[in-house]
């Protein structure tokens, strides 16, 4: 028995028939081939599968595809516009915040959710916002610096 769902993914309307037990991460990765969302544990522990659901970060392995019905999903593929990196992505590139890159999509989306609501976060606010995204490579320091840089960049842009 499949259920028909209708949702927005990266700004585009998507309709699909999905099994009731299909998780959002499976739906994104396997059905929509949006493999930028990573699958690290399937238990909501690592945060690699973080996407934004109506602007809020969720572990897409803990959300069923049917729960996304009528809602809006942003994945890492939807962040760059017209081939231009989003300021958070650019800051991750510039500041050396990326090593193996497996946590990066989820990390960037958690950062986006933070900066969308808090344009001048403190370091502890940044660290708290990404505390559900595990990274084994970097020790987090350059990630925190990248998010700080992105925040400044985005504020400056809005001011101009």
């Amino acid at each position: 028995m499949k259920t028909l769902i209708q949702l927005t993914v990266n700004g585009e309307l998507v309709e699909a028939a999905v099994d009731a037990n299909r998780t959002l991460v499976q739906f994104l990765r396997e059905d929509l081939e949006l493999t930028g969302t990573k699958h690290g544990c399937g238990l909501g522990d690592c945060g690699a599968c973080t996407v934004l659901l109506d602007g809020k970060p969720v572990n897409s392995c803990l959300v069923l595809a049917v729960q996304a019905n009528g809602r809006s999903v942003l994945t890492i593929e939807g962040l760059a516009e017209n081939g231009k990196l989003h300021p958070i992505q650019q800051a991750f590139v510039d500041k050396g915040a990326i090593q193996c890159g497996f946590c990066t999509p989820g990390m960037i989306l958690s950062a986006k959710a933070l900066l969308d609501t808090n344009t001048k976060p403190t370091e502890i606010e940044i660290r708290t916002a990404i505390s559900g995204n595990l990274c084994r490579c970097t020790g987090y320091q350059k990630i925190v610096q990248a998010i700080q840089t992105a925040a400044e960049e985005m504020t400056a842009k809005e001011g101009s």
């Binding site: 990765r29 949006l34 493999t35 930028g36 969302t37 990573k38 699958h39 690290g40 544990c41 399937g42 238990l43 909501g44 522990d45 690592c46 690699a48 994945t75 890492i76 593929e77 962040l79 760059a80 990196l85 992505q89 650019q90 991750f92 590139v93 510039d94 500041k95 050396g96 990326i98 090593q99 193996c100 890159g101 497996f102 946590c103 990066t104 999509p105 960037i108 940044i126 660290r127 708290t128 990404i130 505390s131 559900g132 995204n133 595990l134 990274c135 084994r136 490579c137 970097t138 020790g139 987090y140 320091q141 350059k142 990630i143 925190v144």
Partner: protein, 784 residues
């Protein structure tokens, strides 16, 4: 005087845009038409005889395409070191740990494969299991392998100098014991692979590995196919840290199932299976005595090790040797005695992990050094400075410190942490500690005995001369090796970094032993440099004829050609290029003849320009048994100062500040060097404070998830003051050496020494949970 155009900069990684946008493909992102899904049946018991395997129901399940057991796979023994091949792909007589592989299934989808696995019926005769390394070595303990009675995988007995007589002459002998816990690699990407046989019977395996070369060889050996018919391709890898340094049953199962079914087969480990496969850090027990003179001179060290190896050897022989050999430096010693044993237990096999074999023993030793300093009334940093080796010295176990900025690192962290104003001056509950360490820049010998090159590199120039391609089998696993190689190629050829592309991680490109033992910067870097020099020479030779100049007069810089440092009279050649390259939209201009024009000229004369480079270390080390382990062409070294706060009511530790200095020779890419340093500290902090793979009484892991097994989060890691200390390593390409592992060495002891400073309690068991420290503080209060 260094005058680099590309090296020593902060280059953005070549792969960062792909990784920041989700375009980077990892193994589990790959699919193929008609692809099947595989799953593995693993033992539910820790030790038992297999009486019967009945897969008939599984084979009959709709959607199942193949079921394979030892009968189909054969019984070829494999492992990491040929001296201890003690594994077969599937168990046939016995299972030796919860998770031991028994069979594998390929089906049309994962759900069906998992259902089929459930339908395989195995009859066991359960045997008593041994889960503790000390128990395992006792008389009468359950035996894991008939070939290795006493459950000892390997033992080491080494002595350099006259330990006992020198100990007897010391003014002070301090002792310490230390017990670490089994760590998990906890890379965020679980192992994943996709295997496919083509119609010529040739195999391609896409897999999340650190070592395409070794995987290729093991797969070929176990599945009995010619090694030339196996191609291993490493897509982007989501971290490795050591445990992805050997061929896995996952990879071999996918290959076998693809062979049997004629279809591509995808297989993944779940997170729980990552813990079950393990091959991560051993549990170590260390027992040490250090003899010193009144003035703080270190004299003699006695070191004993017991390692819990789990059910198979994996890297274990090297591991148990490293626990001894990596204490030969960075301090001068007059004598050192080492006895080590690695025990088999009925648990997942342990292997290599960042700082292979050296981390726990370094942690014990550096505490001992502090203990001695404390009793002698000497500042521990000054005591370290007094004893450090310098470049050009050889350790007592014959490791050649061809460059060693140890003293500079210690001074850098002393000054950078304001040590002098803090040590002995902090209030109770606050503490500061220091430690040092060093590590190899690539193992001196391959894992299998061989005269092979450790790295070869191919460099090709595009027909128009504008783009240079580096082809290498080396493994970018997140550390930044692709960017490092591009930088070395660009520097050597005198072209901008943007003109270089890197294709790596494919056994078809070149021979490279892979990303382990922090070897790629030095070894693959050497091969890349030589390949680029080869290409450069070919171009210069053609150019010298056309220009009528001596070949030695020709140099390349920033994409330009210089003739004795000047532009030379190249107009005729440029006109020729423009004429010959008619219709091209970007004619060369500028005041200098360009690399692109010169390379085109060479192409027209010689065809596609290809240069190759190669590297293997010279014969290294002493002549004693086991002398190979610990040898390297060069050694990186690290010093750290850590400040902690301890809640004296609860025992909760928080790490407030970390100052880290590392000597990596020339820092090819400063940003990546700092990234390796900070990541190392994070892994060390986790092992010190939180991490422990725990088992129940029947050998089952009780915390096989990243929720229960805790690694540091962004809230646990402080900002690290990272100080890059550069030396000029004579054996490294452009003076470069390792940074990937040396930086983890001082972390645990620096934290433990800081905890001692804060509480007066010396911890001898990891992890330092609040409970453990609280109990230790309580015990300490009872002391008179």
């Amino acid at each position: 005087m260094r005058d680099f155009q590309v090296l020593g900069a902060r280059a953005p990684r070549l792969d960062a845009p792909a990784k920041s946008t989700g375009q980077a493909k990892y193994a589990d992102d790959l699919t193929m038409p008609g692809m099947l899904y595989g799953a593995i049946l693993q033992s539910p018991i820790a030790h038992g005889k297999i009486l019967n395997i009945d897969a008939s129901k599984a084979r009959k399940l709709k959607g199942v395409r193949a079921v394979v057991t030892a009968r189909e796979a054969g019984l070829v023994k494999y492992g990491v070191s040929p001296a201890r091949y003690d594994e077969t792909l599937y168990c046939h007589e016995k299972v030796r740990y919860v998770g031991d592989e028994i069979a594998a299934v390929a089906a049309v989808d994962l759900e069906t494969a998992l259902e089929a696995v459930e339908l395989i019926k195995v009859d066991y005769e359960e045997l008593p299991a041994v889960l503790d390394m000390f128990e395992a070595m006792k008389e009468g303990a359950p035996q894991l392998h008939d070939e290795f009675p006493g459950n000892v995988t390997a033992e080491v007995h080494q002595e350099f100098g006259e330990t006992e007589p020198l100990m007897a002459q010391c003014d002070l002998v301090v002792d310490h014991t230390f017990l670490s816990k089994r760590q998990d690699g906890a890379f965020i990407e679980p192992h994943s692979c996709l295997a496919v046989f083509d119609l010529q019977g040739k195999l391609t395996l896409h897999t999340s590995t650190q070592v395409p070369h070794y995987v290729m060889r093991t797969v070929a050996m176990v599945l009995r196919i010619p090694v030339g018919d196996v191609r291993v391709v490493k897509p982007y890898v989501g971290g490795g840290f050591g445990p992805k340094s050997e061929a896995t049953p996952l990879e071999m199962s996918a290959c076998l199932l693809s062979k049997v079914t004629g279809k591509p087969v995808k297989m993944n480990y779940t997170r729980e299976q990552v813990f079950l496969h393990s091959r991560a850090r051993h549990q170590f027990y260390a027992e040490m005595s250090l003899g010193v003179k009144k003035d703080g001179t270190l004299v003699a060290l006695k070191n004993k090790a017991v390692l819990d190896g789990g059910a198979y050897t994996s890297f274990g022989i090297a591991t148990v040797y490293y626990s001894g050999s990596l204490l030969g430096g960075p301090y001068r010693l007059q004598a050192m005695k080492y006895d080590g044993w690695r025990a088999y237990t009925n648990k997942p096999a342990c292997g290599a992990q960042r700082g292979h074999g050296g981390v726990a023993h370094r942690a014990c030793f550096e505490q001992l050094l502090d203990k001695a300093a404390d009793q002698l009334g000497i500042d521990p940093v000054e005591m370290r400075l007094k004893n450090v080796m310098v470049a050009g010295q050889t350790t007592i176990n014959e490791l050649d410190m061809s460059s060693l900025g140890m003293k500079e690192c210690i001074e850098a962290v002393r000054n950078g942490s304001d040590w002098k104003n803090k040590k002995g001056k902090l209030p109770r509950g606050k503490g500061i500690g220091s430690a040092c360490g060093f590590f190899v820049s690539g193992a001196g010998y391959p894992i299998y005995r061989s005269d092979t090159y450790h790295s070869t590199v191919v460099i090709k120039v595009a027909e128009d001369g504008g783009t240079v391609t580096v082809l290498t089998g080396s493994a970018e696993i997140g550390q930044g090796s692709d960017t490092m190689l591009a930088m070395i190629a660009a520097e050597t050829l005198g072209i901008p970094l943007e003109c270089v592309r890197v294709f790596s991680g494919d056994t078809e490109y070149s021979v490279d032993l892979g990303a382990y033992s922090s070897r790629q910067t030095l070894m693959t870097g050497h091969a890349a440099k030589e390949a680029a020099e080869n290409v450069r020479r070919q171009i210069a030779e053609v150019l010298s004829v056309h220009m009528g100049r001596d070949v030695d007069d020709i140099t390349f810089r920033n994409g330009n050609v210089l003739f004795r440092g000047g532009p030379g009279n190249f107009e005729k050649l440029r006109q020729g290029y423009i004429k010959e390259h008619r219709g091209w939209t970007d004619p060369p201009g500028g005041d200098y003849f360009t690399f692109r024009e010169a390379a085109r000229l060479a192409f027209l004369e010689k065809g596609t320009l290809v240069g190759t480079g190669k590297y293997k270390p010279p014969r290294l080390g002493g002549a004693y048994k086991g002398a190979a382990v610990g040898t390297s062409p060069a050694y990186g070294c690290s010093a750290q100062v850590v400040e902690v706060s301890v809640d004296l009511e609860t025992g909760q530790v928080s790490v407030d500040n970390m100052t880290d200095a590392h000597d990596c020779g020339l820092a090819i890419n400063l940003t990546s060097v700092e990234g390796q340093m900070q990541g190392s500290l994070s892994m060390g902090l986790g092992e010190c404070l939180f991490e422990e793979v725990k088992f129940d009484s029947r050998g089952r892991i009780i915390n096989a998830s990243l929720g229960e097994y805790k690694i540091p989060t962004a809230l646990d890691m402080p900002n690290v003051k990272s100080i890059v200390v550069e030396s000029n390593e004579p054996n490294g390409p452009y003076g470069a050496k390792e940074v990937g592992e040396g930086a983890i060495m001082p972390t645990i002891p620096a934290i433990l020494n800081a905890i001692y400073d804060a509480t007066g309690v010396r911890i001898n068991e990891l992890p330092v949970t609040a409970e453990r420290l609280y109990m230790a503080m309580k015990e300490n209060q009872k002391k008179p």
